[in-house]
Subunit: 165 residues, 2 copies
DNA sequence: GTGAATGCAAAAAGTTTGCAGGAAC
DNA sequence: GTTCCTGCAAACTTTTTGCATTCAC
């Protein structure tokens, strides 16, 4: 564990510096929270978690940093239709992360869905080549959303409070 | 053209009636606009277009109807990160529509992207079976979003005003 | 005629912005 | 020391809601 950094060594330091941005306590705390979280967090959830690490921060810094990171491509922003945006780190220390979600159309629950297999990669690579030809659009990443019914709702428990998307 | 209905015959009448909802002028106008539009429209864009057909309507009816239709599964709601939701008919008279988009991370432009080919269908069907097994989640539809650079931004024109996903 | 749906206006919620003080370099 | 970043509070925008009226059935 080089220089006392846990969990993979704060790989984002270099990314910020290289892009010419300052490495502030606030930004470090936000990235640390995102890096530790398994899935999609809302701005307020991030705010609350950041508060434990760095209590001085305000919500607007969270928003400003998240926008910065989104523009840098370090973070992806999602909207699952519940009126607040969700954020997810684009990658971990080990490399690209996947961004596929199952969204229950009945209760609104969102499940993070890991990788599939090599076939998926191959087909998507093929599709992305086709997009480049047809639209002259260079794809850098993709995300798939599956709509349907989660296990609970399929079994008739039906907490029903979904709002769509 | 049965009973004087143009463009496919307002197939949605039955869908509303069957679900026990009243067929109002406002709802009909909204569905008509969505049916005629090629891609994703914001609530306000729909409002403006509806105004031409049915000038009495207000924005809140648009929102209420769009939520109803989204819950019914007739409409999909999207968010491309510009602060307003977009709506797209889930299907046309001819059947299921695809919901794949190219989102430019530089200028924010969104391009509707049609079907690919049979391979895609086959693979997604396979993936959806896997999701049923692994998560006990019954997939009913899917949407793919590709992020990248559009033709203009690739060529350095760069109007840059994107806000994320 | 009855209950659901609408229209208007007001409220709510999330997100953005201005500006002065503070922190990173 | 200089410049960028933050924190607070106020502003903004989109979306939601209450209630009386209107319309579909």
């Amino acid at each position: 564990m080089p220089r006392g950094f846990g969990r993979g060594g704060r790989w984002w330091h270099g990314r910020l510096r290289d892009a010419g941005y300052r490495l502030t306590l606030s930004r470090d705390a936000i990235l640390s929270v995102l890096n530790g979280a398994s899935g999609h967090l809302s701005a307020e959830e991030i705010y609350l978690k950041v508060h434990n690490i760095y209590p001085a921060g305000g919500l607007s810094s969270i928003y400003r940093t998240l926008e910065l990171l989104t523009q840098m491509g370090l973070v992806f922003k999602f909207d699952f239709g519940d009126g607040r945006a969700r954020y997810e780190l684009a990658q971990g220390p080990e490399g690209e992360r996947h961004h596929h979600h199952l969204v229950c159309t009945n209760c609104g629950r969102v499940i993070d869905c890991g990788n599939f297999d090599q076939d998926e990669e191959d087909l998507l690579a093929k599709i992305e080549k086709g997009i480049l030809k047809k639209f002259s659009f260079r794809v850098t990443s993709h995300m798939i959303r599956f709509l349907g019914l989660c296990d609970k709702c399929r079994n008739g428990i039906s907490h029903g409070q979904g709002r769509g998307t």
